[in-house]
Symmetry: C2
Subunit: 365 residues, 2 copies
């Protein structure tokens, strides 16, 4: 299992520069590093002075680099889909549709990249994977996919099973399935097997994002007021997808007390500007990325105290909305909605109170 690192911040603050410097630093410490670029444009390749491909290639000792290409990843995933289909359907439909025809729709870049990261992680070939993504809300949506998609599955599974439509249709499922499916299912467990496999993957994804020893983000900013405000916003937004932010990288300038106070309690590392091809000063200024686990965690559930505490820095009270529907509690902040699946001891209990203080939302049951 790898540590997956990513850098968040306003465009132009130097996220890709930090990603490369981090790769060089970790490789110099003997870590096997994969540097994965999301943007298909030429910028990363130019900075690395290498033409990148859609498969990892060694660009220096201990460093491999890859540039995700959604068209290529989609072709590969399509082959997997066809294999799955052949496994479950007696007469597959998709045989005549080729991966080379498929266009890329919004969201596919993120889903395909997340799947590629998962595979590189599982390959055991890398100690650290550095993901040079768009570094904004899009990266957070990608890392939130497992948690949010799990919610959609469990919510809509229940909706369908409770529905009159299901009661009307399910008697027909039995005869139809025996005609077209390769496996004999009863109406009850129709679709359960692939769903179970999907849920397993999603659970693994959720666990990884929630563990700062597996996935961590660092904020990149300059002293520009806009860049600082954007970094603070992304700090809070990252918590909403359960992602731990390990520290701040202040690019181009030494840090000040006032600056550090903005991001308290996170450590700030001041990173010097790069001159020509000398990466050494940047590598030395970067923090120990394994320390991300010391940063505040996005969520803590205290069962004896009957309390859920969410860390939501960068937001004020008015920007945070709490609603309860059924067994779940929904937190809305930073254009993110997070449904918290409560442990059995708190599930179904009404919210008794909520207090927003020092960047923490404490919900009592």
């Amino acid at each position: 299992m790898s540590l997956i690192l990513t850098f968040l911040g306003k465009g132009g603050t130097g996220r890709t520069t930090m990603a490369i410097a981090a790769a060089k630093k970790l490789a110099s410490q003997g870590q096997r590093v994969l540097l994965a670029g999301q943007d298909p444009g030429p910028a990363l390749g130019l900075m690395l002075q290498t033409a990148l491909g859609s498969d990892p290639q060694e660009i220096a000792t201990n460093i491999q680099a890859v540039q995700f290409q959604s068209t290529v990843l989609l072709e590969r995933s399509w082959e997997e889909v066809k294999k799955l289909e052949a496994q479950y359907l007696r007469t597959p439909l998709l045989g005549n549709v080729y991966g080379q025809e498929l266009g890329v729709l919004p969201g596919m870049d993120s889903a395909l990249a997340l799947n590629a990261l998962r595979e590189y992680d599982a390959s055991g070939k890398y100690d650290v994977i550095i993901y040079d993504g768009s570094g904004d809300q899009t990266t957070l949506r990608m890392l939130g996919l497992a948690e949010i998609f799990s919610w959609y599955i469990r919510r809509f599974q229940k909706v369908v099973q409770d529905s009159d439509l299901w009661k009307a249709v399910s008697p027909f499922i039995q005869p139809v399935t025996s005609t077209v499916l390769n496996v004999s299912w009863t109406g009850e467990n129709f679709g359960q097997q692939p769903l179970k496999e999907a849920n397993n993957l999603l659970d693994q994804g959720k666990a990884a994002v929630a563990d700062p020893n597996r996935v961590a983000a660092y904020l990149v900013t300059t002293v520009d007021a806009n860049a600082i405000a954007t970094a603070k916003y992304l700090w809070g937004s990252a918590q909403q997808v359960g992602l731990t932010v390990g520290g701040i990288l202040l690019n181009h300038e030494p840090t000040t007390e006032a600056f550090a106070a903005e991001f308290d309690p996170l450590p700030v590392s001041a990173i010097p500007s790069r001159s020509d091809d000398n990466w050494q000063p940047l590598m030395e200024a970067l923090p120990d990325f394994r320390q991300a686990s010391q940063a505040p965690r996005p969520i803590t559930i205290d069962i004896p105290a009957r309390q859920v505490r969410l860390f939501l820095p960068g937001f004020d009270k008015k920007q945070v909305k709490l609603t309860q529907s059924g067994p779940e509690v929904t937190i809305e902040a930073g254009d993110q909605r997070r449904n918290i699946l409560l442990p059995p001891q708190l599930s179904g209990q009404p919210v008794k109170g909520a207090k927003f203080q020092n960047g923490y939302l404490a919900i009592s049951f």
Copy 2:
């Protein structure tokens, strides 16, 4: 109908600055302008010195501004989905699922923003809508959605109709539909009505993106080599979604002959740096955005010459891939795949030859 303008380029080159200056310029000419920001972070509001909301508000004479919030847009769209469901299903399933619960998955930001742009366009309230999006591949995926999604619909509709699965299932559709649907359909036209409505919307979207008097992009760059390379890449990539690029905005520096040659035949406007709150020099330096229709068009189909010409600047021969499957031709370049639906006179004809010259791919049938 509005003119929808957007700015593409590397992060940090000043895309949002250009969007604001363009809004001010057009408003000063008496155009009713909507400035729509995609990023939910604080940057756009700080630059406008106004707190933005999820509904348009007047921020100056002739300028309204809105900041898209996917959580809010998703709630609104969900209500529409529930209405549609109630129209077609006897016993709706989704009544108990509330918009306030729904999390945002990758791709939803783009789909929801595109739908919001469509509605603002149709409202008749704005002469120009300036979309301050992520300005990269994500914006192109959004603007390519209509064309690519249309392809998925026509391809998979055919796959399903030709399949043994459909033949096995369709006899059951009739009895099931009469039980659960509000409308009486035969198996033949099952799902045709909503599909027809969806196809209409997609056709309108495709027509708008293909018309530079309706949708146009401008490239923003500085003299930085990385920024120039990214702008060139986005120039070519924009053609792949059928989007016309009207010109180049060179930020902070005067243009040179060498620079202009990089983007020939597009006009280059040199935009001075902004000092404090003085936008006037920027407004004056911006081009006439209505001139985008004079730029090369992404695709021209010459039926008498039996030729399709695609403008693909910024790519070399090796980066462009052409395949033919069935009646369609697929062009792959810049991590985009475009399926070209040929007119009846050329449809189904084999490709006789293809030549890549001066940034144009000419395909002969």
